[in-house]
């Protein structure tokens, strides 16, 4: 093998070339190829993510469509229950409604008074409030009261009577005084 005799000048030039080569590699990988690969990787990740979302969205829409069919009974029922809570503050519409209701049942002088209201602890009823009412029927009779209570329990499904007191009026024993404590679930408006 032929021995390579390099002069001092040539060694300097060779060193300079090596340094230039290293600098070139550094610049190439750091400022050209590196950012390009990084950008490509992030775009691939975005594509995968979006493709997963698109695939998932088909499932989501199918599920929503199936749920819509399954929930038709519940939505109808919910709409009916919601319709029992008119717009406005319950104190404004509930007492007149009760008064009209009992008047239609031949019980005059019915009064309804709000005792208190509270929120439900159940998270599913976060949109509803519990109202406690005191209903006073100062003069009625047992038969009419029974009829009226049956009608009330049937027409107001969200009303629950918690306390019922019927007692004869001293001077006029054919009549009774009735007081009712009832709770209602009313939608927050």
């Amino acid at each position: 093998m032929k021995k390579l005799n390099l002069t001092k000048d040539q060694i300097q030039k060779l060193s300079l070339s090596t340094i230039g080569f290293v600098v070139l590699l550094y610049v190439y990988f750091s400022f050209f190829l590196g950012p390009l690969n990084k950008s490509r990787d992030s775009m691939l990740a975005s594509i995968n993510d979006l493709q997963r979302k698109v695939a998932g969205s088909k499932n989501e829409m199918t599920k929503a469509s199936n749920l819509e069919k399954q929930a038709s009974t519940a939505t109808t029922r919910f709409a009916a229950l919601k319709a029992l809570s008119p717009e406005g503050a319950p104190i404004a519409w509930f007492p007149p409604r009760i008064k009209v209701f009992f008047a239609n049942q031949q019980i005059d002088k019915a009064t309804a008074r709000l005792e208190n209201s509270s929120v439900y602890k159940d998270a599913d009823l976060s949109g509803w409030m519990r109202y406690s009412w005191f209903l006073d029927l100062p003069q009625t009779d047992f038969s009419t009261t029974g009829l009226a209570i049956a009608a009330l329990e049937n027409s107001e499904p969200l009303l629950s009577i918690t306390h019922l007191n019927i007692h004869a009026i001293g001077d006029d024993p054919q009549f009774q005084q009735v007081s009712i404590n009832a709770t209602t679930a009313i939608m927050k408006r």
């Binding site: 979302k53 698109v54 829409m61 029922r77 509803w128 047992f142 038969s143 029974g146 049956a150 329990e153």
Partner: protein, 218 residues
């Protein structure tokens, strides 16, 4: 044999030395490597451009689907909320204690020689227990027996619809006053009955039929 003289050997040597110049060779190698790198970079750039096009196509697809998906998700959440709320409300409705059937049964139990003066009922433990205090008067040759008949009838009637029925006298006392029933003077007794029962399983739904007759007062 002809003599061959190389008069340009110095120039030829210099030329050979120039050709073997390491800087020149290094520059050539660097140039070749640089060209390779540029080609590789361009190839990568082309690939990246292709991926960018794919990304924009997928983004376009997603932008078309996204509003529908968001609406579907919102509707699903709304429907689930409606279903669970309706379930809870239905549970509340079904768990109510209906007073009208109780009043109907009570009115059926009161005979002509008895009068109920007060009924005080309370629903406890979210509809799992009902406590009713009934006060009244009974008349007859044996007024206590008339009151006992009422108690037994009430126990029997309520037992048909409710569970764990208990009907007990709290007080039962004779009164000095007499009452005229069908032309005969009858003795009277005052009674107070405590009625407790569990309506949760056997409670019947409210019916639109009213109590057939009122008996709390004569």
């Amino acid at each position: 044999m002809a003599l061959h003289l190389n008069l340009l050997h110095e120039e030829i040597l210099e030329q050979r030395q120039r050709q073997r110049d390491p800087l020149k060779i290094g520059m050539m190698v660097l140039g070749a490597l640089g060209a390779l790198m540029i080609v590789y970079y361009l190839w990568n750039a082309y690939k990246t451009l292709e991926i960018r096009n794919r990304l924009s196509a997928v983004q376009h697809d997603w932008s078309k689907v996204e509003p529908k998906v968001t609406a579907a998700q919102k509707r699903s959440a709304e429907l689930n909320n409606i279903i669970s709320t309706t379930k809870v409300l239905d549970g509340m409705i079904d768990g109510r204690f209906f007073w009208a059937p109780f009043m109907e049964k009570l009115s059926r139990c009161v005979a002509l020689n008895a009068q109920i003066t007060s009924v005080d009922g309370l629903v406890q433990d979210e509809g799992k227990a009902v406590i009713v205090m009934i006060e009244g008067l009974a008349a007859g040759r044996e007024p206590r027996s008339a009151a006992e008949e009422l108690r037994q009838l009430l126990l029997e009637q309520l037992g048909q619809s409710y569970h764990e029925v208990k009907v007990e006298f709290k007080t039962l006392e004779d009164l000095d006053t007499l009452v005229k029933i069908a032309g005969d003077n009858m003795a009277m007794a005052r009674f107070a009955l405590s009625v407790t029962f569990n309506p949760s399983e056997g409670a019947s739904k409210a019916t639109s039929s009213p109590p057939p007759r009122g008996r709390t007062s004569k």
